[in-house]
């Protein structure tokens, strides 16, 4: 059916003023990019950031505050920017271009070469960097500042959009806080306290933070004394202790939609694009293979990297190459056999094959280490493995595609198809967690709002219309499906493990005898 796009969704004058204000703020940055000399960089930086923030605030207040509280999706599929129209593509291209320049050509942003001062856009941010940590800005400082600005400004927008929904508000305040404090301010403060410390965002956990166990990073932590050692231990604990406990209690949402920076940007600036994710079964198939391939890649890469700088001698340091490899093999075997024994009935066929394949691969290669003589684990130079990961996964997948393609593929492309941290959390969420989305008996009318607005591309309706709870590894627990449901069918909750996964033939509300006959619970 071809529906003409209605023009009745005019934006108000206040919204236009908001857009102009915000674009003016960005324009100052563009001028800086082209080396326009400002009389005072500090003043113009404040002006630029202030105008962007004010623009978003003015637009938001006009868009939501004069309407009654409730779901605000009117016209989502009519607006060019949010329906892969011309504005969607333009913004996608600009974002993609920005990421390419940021990762591969930072000199175009004005990054100084040795011994010279920054120019261009980066020099505009020098005053703020000097203020916070007493050093000139880098391209990462500029990126971090803009990233934080986006999460704060669009977080405000999201809070007003969902001002009837306290779950949405609280988790948005949470990601705004973690971005501002943990990703942006605390690392700068830590640098001031001890400038041997590497940049460390404490909420960024391995394997999302894929460089934390690199040699330079570990050396830097260790050389920074007790504080550094403490942080390194915290980094290890957050992988093996904190994460499993929180995921068991609350599902992966505690991280993906309450803490994580990637999730934070997706939920705030990315919110207008959440419905663009593909809900096809084929997309789900691709997702399961891709994200687990990235996970295996990151495990292999990290193992190889750590292996490469460990020694052989016990007396020098207890963690030798042999001990390390044994630990890795032990952990992988523990997880693999545990899952295969206790949870095998919960796996689909391809998941079993995939798991077995991956395990055999890792086991074989590790056995080769013990029987062979090669110095290079997996026959590959760990350095090239590490740089390939950094380039293809760290930069291109998570940045250029993950964020640049927001307006085309939706706001969680990276989280859904690529993030190895999400893969680990999802694995645990599916198998060992109290979290689920409960379906309310027989109340579903198959309208499809839940599936449409699922940023992870989960066909929520497919479960809800069968009266089945939604227990999916990819679910980040954003709660939007439950919010947009017009009939009160979905609720995110942490409850007992019994009956968490419930397949129903006949839905509640029909003949009780028939239900008993067919539902073997």
């Amino acid at each position: 059916m071809s529906l003409a796009k209605p023009d009745a969704l005019h934006i108000t004058n206040a919204q236009k003023i908001g857009i102009i204000t915000g674009v003016t703020g960005l324009f100052i940055m563009v001028l800086a990019l082209f080396n326009v000399e400002f009389p005072s960089k500090g003043l113009f930086l404040v002006l630029s950031i202030g105008l962007v923030a004010t623009g978003v605030i003015v637009y938001t207040r006009s868009a939501y505050l004069h309407k009654l509280e409730g779901i605000k999706n009117d016209g989502t599929w009519f607006k060019s920017v949010s329906s892969r129209g011309i504005w969607g593509w333009i913004i996608g291209l600009i974002l993609t271009g920005f990421y390419i320049v940021l990762y591969f050509f930072p000199e175009y942003l004005g990054l100084a070469s040795e011994g010279t001062a920054n120019t261009g856009l980066i020099s505009l941010f020098d005053p703020l960097s000097e203020l916070l940590s007493g050093r000139p800005a880098s391209q990462w400082f500029v990126y971090g500042t803009l990233y934080t600005l986006a999460i704060l400004a669009f977080g405000y927008k999201f809070i007003l959009k969902y001002r009837h929904n306290r779950y949405q508000q609280l988790r948005t305040i949470s990601v705004m806080f973690f971005q501002l404090a943990f990703a942006f301010l605390i690392p700068e403060v830590m640098y001031v306290m001890n400038n041997n410390l590497p940049y460390y965002d404490m909420k960024s956990i391995w394997p999302l933070n894929y460089y934390i166990f690199d040699e330079w990073s570990v050396n830097a932590f260790i050389s920074a004394g007790n504080l550094g050692l403490g942080l390194l231990i915290f980094g290890i604990l957050s992988v093996f202790v904190i994460t499993p406990i929180l995921t068991f209690k609350y599902g992966k949402r505690w991280y993906c939609s309450w803490v994580c920076g990637c999730g934070g940007l997706a939920e705030t600036a990315g919110d207008p694009f959440r419905h663009l994710s593909s809900k096809k079964l084929s997309a789900w198939r691709l997702e399961r293979w891709l994200i687990h391939v990235v996970l295996v890649f990151s495990v292999v890469m990290t193992t190889a990297v750590v292996y490469s700088y460990l020694g052989y001698d016990h007396n020098h340091f207890w963690l030798t190459r042999g001990v390390f490899i044994s630990l890795v093999v032990g952990l992988l075997s523990f997880v693999f056999f545990g899952v295969m024994y206790f949870k095998r009935q919960e796996f689909g066929k391809d998941a079993k094959y995939g798991a077995i394949g991956f395990f055999v691969l890792i086991a074989l290669l590790l056995i080769m280490h013990f029987t062979g003589t090669t110095d290079k684990l997996f026959y590959i130079n760990s350095g090239s493995l590490r740089s390939a990961y950094g380039l293809y996964i760290g930069s291109i997948f998570s940045g250029v595609i993950g964020t640049g393609f927001y307006p085309i593929l939706g706001n969680r492309v990276w989280c859904r198809f690529g993030c190895p941290m999400a893969a680990i959390l999802g694995f645990q969420q599916r198998l060992f967690s109290k979290f689920r989305i409960t379906t309310n008996g027989g109340q579903c009318i198959s309208c499809g709002n839940c599936s449409t607005y699922c940023e992870m591309g989960i066909d929520v309706r497919a479960y809800a219309q069968k009266g089945e709870n939604i227990v999916r590894s990819s679910c980040v627990g954003c709660g939007i499906c439950a919010a947009v449901c017009p009939r009160g069918v979905l609720k995110l909750e942490n409850d007992s493990l019994n009956g968490r996964i419930n397949a129903n033939e006949i839905l509640l509300g029909n003949d009780v005898d028939l239900i008993k006959l067919l539902n073997k619970n």
Binding site: L3, P6, W77, N440, S446, T452, D511
Partner: protein, 434 residues
């Protein structure tokens, strides 16, 4: 192996087909003249409002039908001959069946209003209605005002749709308060106020006299029965209920009342012909239910039940406790068990009503005034658990138990404010003052 032919690809017919496929190897054909694939009728409004595209209203991808060997045929059945088990299709085709299931749903009611067939007059039921709406009311320049006739669930949805495109709406409701044939007064009046707060020109106790045309045969205005007032408009939505869509069966031997008459096994008077969903009419109403139930859920249940019968396990349609839901602009509504409006309220039914000071949340609990047996609950703006109320109704709990345990039934998102204490307090206070 039989050839089962289902006329109608709505929730009833499709549920039936899915369950027959799970249980058997019968050949299954679904015929529809409305759309190629099954879509959720209740979601059409969201397409017009821009929340979804039409394809999002389709619960199954294209491969689903092939994989499950459910043949889809886009055709209009003109005539049914049950003697030689043949369907005659518009355009000349024929199709034979072993078992025939009629699941053709409803069509909007028209009560003989002058002008009811003009261009720009439409119901909101079929996919084609949505296409017409897009033609006659794409924006507030083409459609400067719309008039909706009929104060029920579809009427209020149409009002919400049109106002999402800033089209001014006049809403003519025959009753003295919105949907008060079904809703108790406190709820109905709260919804009246909510409709007004969305800037809808709500006219209660108001009937349509006629619809006037301009010289091109398009809607120009409507005349109000009571005041003879003329309201200029470019669109008239007729939403005064629906009735079974069964005209094509009039020449057949299948017994018809308002709908296709069926027994408790959903069988018609003709062997091997069945009817399900809101085109079916029970010869005798089941409990408090209407003989014709035009609700999504009952269509689905009839499909689940008839699949058993068609696969050799003959069963009666025995729906469990009544439940339903709707949304009135921003206010969600759920009901479990029976709570009556002014019309048809049994003498033994006592009600307790609580309304929040914000005027967007309320509940009504119905109970037996002598035995205090809990009969049902209506809840607005607070989500409640189907499973819990279904259990309490089966366990025949009394109202005091339900009020004290209301917390267990809460289904609102995490961190929402809770109202059980307030409600219980109001309930207890009321008992003391009576």
């Amino acid at each position: 192996m039989h050839h089962i032919v289902i006329i109608g690809n709505g929730i009833s017919g499709v549920t039936l087909a899915r369950h027959v496929r799970k249980l058997s190897d019968h050949k299954i054909t679904i015929i529809s003249s409305e759309s190629e694939f099954f879509f959720s009728r209740t979601a059409l409004m969201y397409v017009y409002m821009g929340h979804m595209k039409f394809e999002h209203t389709q619960p199954y991808e294209k491969w689903f039908w092939k994989k499950n060997r459910i043949h889809l045929k886009k055709a209009y059945v003109q005539k049914v001959n049950t003697d030689d088990k043949t369907l005659y299709l518009a355009g000349g085709g024929q199709l034979t069946y072993d078992k025939l299931v009629i699941a053709t749903g409803s069509k909007p009611n028209k009560f003989g209003w002058p002008g009811q067939d003009l261009k720009g007059v439409l119901g909101l039921y079929h996919k084609q209605d949505l296409e017409n709406l897009e033609r006659y009311a794409p924006n507030n320049e083409v459609c400067k005002r719309a008039v909706i006739v009929g104060g029920g669930l579809i009427g209020i949805e149409l009002a919400e749709m049109l106002s999402s495109r800033s089209i001014p709406v006049t809403f003519l409701v025959r009753e003295s308060s919105f949907w008060n044939g079904v809703l108790p007064e406190g709820e109905s009046t709260m919804i009246n106020r909510h409709i007004l707060s969305h800037h809808i020109d709500l006219r209660l106790s108001t009937n349509l006299k006629e619809i006037k045309a301009n010289d091109k045969g398009r809607v120009k205005s409507v005349i109000i029965e009571e005041t003879k007032e003329e309201i200029a408009c470019d669109l008239v939505g007729l939403t005064a209920g629906v009735s079974p869509n069964i005209d094509f069966l009039k020449s057949s031997k299948i017994a018809l009342g308002k709908g296709v008459l069926v027994n408790r096994q959903l069988e018609t008077n003709v062997k091997d012909v069945f009817a399900i969903g809101d085109c079916a009419e029970q010869q005798k109403a089941i409990g408090n239910r209407q003989p014709i139930e035009s609700v999504w859920y009952t269509g689905r249940m009839m499909g689940e039940t008839l699949a058993q019968t068609l696969c050799g396990n003959r069963r009666s349609y025995k729906p469990g406790h009544w439940f339903n839901s709707a949304k009135f602009f921003d206010i969600e509504y759920q009901t479990y068990g029976w709570v009556h409006g002014m019309k048809g309220k049994p003498e033994y039914e006592e009600q307790f009503h609580w309304i929040h000071k914000d005027d967007d949340k309320c509940i009504t609990v119905a109970y037996h005034k002598n035995t205090r047996l809990f009969l049902g609950i209506n809840t607005f703006g607070i989500r409640m658990r189907h499973e819990i109320f279904d259990r309490w109704l089966t366990e025949e709990r009394d109202v005091d138990y339900v009020m004290e345990h209301l917390e267990e039934a809460n289904f609102d998102p995490e961190f929402y404010s809770r109202y059980e204490n307030q409600i219980l307090k109001a309930f207890t206070n009321r008992l003391q003052t009576v």
